[in-house]
């Protein structure tokens, strides 16, 4: 499979604070690749370096075979970018925004209509509404339309689902899956671990370092211990007790359950063994490093 995005020892510092620490990985052509990590992990910095908006302090990177520093003009022609913050003209209507960005890329909505049709039909009823007056989910759909209007080869989506309701998030990911069929490489970042399983491959990133890169299944498969979900009337009390227990290796609140691992295989009488989620893996990797 051809490499679409290649990242080689990329480092970036803001003053003295390191944001990216010698990161390297490759993304294949047509892959839906997730960059998973909490706020401040360095996701946006990496996006800006790849979209030629920022210069890295060290290392090389290329997008579609083009160097992000030397061939930044060519890259800007072939990528679609959706920044983390909603960045369209709030005082322009949906249609005006689309027309404007179509003109920016020397194209028209009709030309690539097949690509954006599925998304556009959802916002079409509001096409004369100002972008600033749309709901969060609608805004993201419009932003995705604008980023796709010129049929980019590579799509960069920086936290596209942050601040969006669960239903719209689900719809959004379904759209991304459809786009994958068009052979568009998609790099998407998210702080939501549950979205990670929807990607082909994911990179877990924390404090500017990559913790692990693999398919979601591989990552959860590598979970080294047996994981148990336990619940009581008073989870907080239970958590305190578990953490004081020398037999317990880790315990943390996970929704309405506590996820617990044990140092030795303790015979558990009544607790459900579960398969780890990406979030469990993330926590485990984070504590290891």
């Amino acid at each position: 499979m051809a490499t679409s995005i290649s990242i080689n020892n990329i480092s970036k510092k803001y003053d003295d604070t390191p944001a990216l620490n010698s990161i390297s990985f490759d993304i294949n052509q047509g892959e839906l690749f997730g960059l998973i990590g909490p706020d401040g992990a360095g996701k946006t910095s990496l996006f800006r370096i790849l979209t030629t908006l920022l210069l890295a302090d060290g290392g090389q990177a290329s997008v579609a075979g083009l160097d992000v520093v030397k061939q930044y003009r060519e890259i800007r022609n072939i990528v679609g970018y959706m920044p983390g913050k909603f960045s369209l003209y709030q005082d322009l209507s949906v249609q005006e925004n689309l027309d404007f960005f179509a003109n920016v890329f020397h194209t028209s909505m009709e030309e690539n209509y097949d690509l954006i049709r599925d998304i556009y039909v959802q916002i079409e009823p509001f096409k004369n509404r100002r972008a600033g007056k749309l709901s969060g989910g609608m805004k993201q759909k419009l932003a995705l339309c604008c980023a796709l209007i010129h049929r980019p080869q590579v799509l960069f989506l920086d936290e596209p689902t942050t601040g969006v309701d669960p239903v719209s998030r689900k719809e959004f990911w379904e759209m991304l899956k459809r786009l994958k069929k068009e052979n568009i490489t998609i790099l998407v970042s998210t702080p939501y671990m549950d979205e990670a399983t929807l990607c082909d491959r994911i990179a877990l990133i924390q404090s500017g370092k990559i913790l692990s890169i693999a398919t979601p299944d591989e990552i959860t498969g590598k979970y080294p211990q047996k994981l148990f979900a336990v619940r009581s009337e008073n989870n907080y009390q239970l958590l305190k007790q578990l953490r004081n227990d020398p037999q317990v290796s880790s315990a943390y609140i996970f929704g309405e359950y506590l996820h617990v691992t044990f140092k030795n295989d303790v015979p558990v009488i009544e607790a459900e063994e579960i398969s780890p989620t990406v979030e469990d893996c993330f926590i485990q990797l984070m504590e290891m490093s």
Partner: protein
């Protein structure tokens, strides 16, 4: 071309949909123009003046000495005829001319009444009337000293002639000033804010990751403001002429050309500000404190530049508005032509070119 027009269309939509911007661009110039009817009077020192002494008598020399010795006046020339005085006025070398007729001394000592003619450049009416009243005070003191010597009352009558602005309409003076202020405000302040807004909202980030060159983004933002600023110039001229009854003495095309040049220099300043600031507030502060204040204070709009400390006078030279206001006064009120303002024009042209080059160099292709 289609891309360019869509940029311009987008910019106009921004303007028309924001009521505050609209007010600032279109209503404010009119309001300022009408409010500024009350100009501020100030003491004026070192007025350059010329004396045409046809009397060549002891008493005429005494008067000239009294004037030259005063801190309010600065003797520049002793011309031989009226034509020279006229020329000096046009060149702006003098603000006042004192003409002492041949029979002044004879009249004064024989009939007790002498006549002196004062001509003042009244394109700044406040200055002209203040300056002539200073002369009258000096002459009054001279009369009193004569009386002490001879115990005979003498009277020196002055005949005051206001050049260029015989009715002393003060609108004549502030209209060019308002033009300078408004154009600076619209072009530098509003343009820089509108460019920085794109940075703040994050839209610049998207536009940068597109085939559009950053210079192109910024230039296309400047064009709508150029058009609106030009509209404001026409609006100000129409209101001044029809409501405030300020005659437009010079060539209207020269006035429009001069204004366009000034608009361009202010736009370049706005672009420069937008490239060094990151937030709208910073841009507003920078253009407000860095441009508006000096424009109001140092351009001669309210306070005559001649009256300022030398250091401030020197600083005022780097303010484009100063040159614009000087030139537009010459053309609009004195009716002078291209060759009288070529100096101001070339300075403005040089400034515009310099600012444009610097601001284009400042553009960043990245964040």
């Amino acid at each position: 071309m289609k891309r360019f027009s869509s940029f311009i269309k987008k910019e106009f939509l921004h303007i028309f949909r924001d009521i505050r911007t609209m007010m600032m661009l279109l209503a404010m110039p009119v309001i300022l123009l009408i409010l500024f009817g009350f100009a501020i009077r100030t003491e004026i020192m070192n007025t350059p003046f010329a004396v045409l002494d046809e009397s060549k008598s002891a008493s005429s020399r005494q008067i000239i000495e009294r004037m030259s010795g005063s801190r309010y006046f600065d003797l520049q020339k002793n011309p031989d005829n009226f034509n020279e005085i006229e020329k000096s006025f046009r060149k702006g070398e003098i603000k006042l001319a004192v003409i002492i007729p041949e029979d002044f001394s004879d009249d004064l000592y024989r009939t007790g009444t002498g006549n002196i003619q004062l001509s003042a450049d009244a394109s700044d009416p406040n200055e002209a009337s203040i300056v002539t009243s200073y002369v009258q005070q000096i002459l009054m003191r001279h009369q009193q000293s004569l009386m002490k010597e001879d115990k005979i009352p003498y009277t020196i009558r002055t005949e005051v002639k206001m050049l260029y602005n015989p009715q002393l309409v003060s609108a004549y003076n502030f209209v060019p000033g308002i033009m300078g202020l408004v154009l600076m405000l619209i072009c530098a302040m509003v343009t820089s804010i509108s460019i920085v807004r794109e940075k703040e909202q994050g839209t610049m980030e998207i536009l940068l990751v597109s085939p559009v060159k950053p210079v192109f983004i910024v230039l296309s933002k400047a064009i709508p403001y150029l058009l609106i600023a030009f509209l404001d110039v026409v609006l100000i001229l129409l209101i001044s002429n029809n409501i405030l009854h300020v005659p437009i003495a010079g060539n209207i095309f020269l006035i429009l050309f001069l204004s366009t040049l000034f608009i361009l220099s202010a736009l370049s300043l706005g672009m420069l500000i937008s490239s060094v600031t990151k937030t709208q507030q910073a841009a507003m502060l920078m253009s407000g404190a860095g441009l508006m204040l000096p424009t109001i204070l140092l351009s001669g709009l309210i306070f005559p530049v001649e009256n300022m400390p030398v250091l401030l006078q020197l600083i005022s030279n780097i303010i484009p508005a100063k040159w614009f206001i000087t030139a537009i006064k010459d053309v609009m009120i004195k009716g002078l032509g291209f060759f009288s303002i070529w100096q101001e024009l070339s300075i403005l042209l040089g400034m515009t070119f310099f600012l444009l080059v610097v601001s284009i160099k400042q553009f960043k292709n990245r964040l």
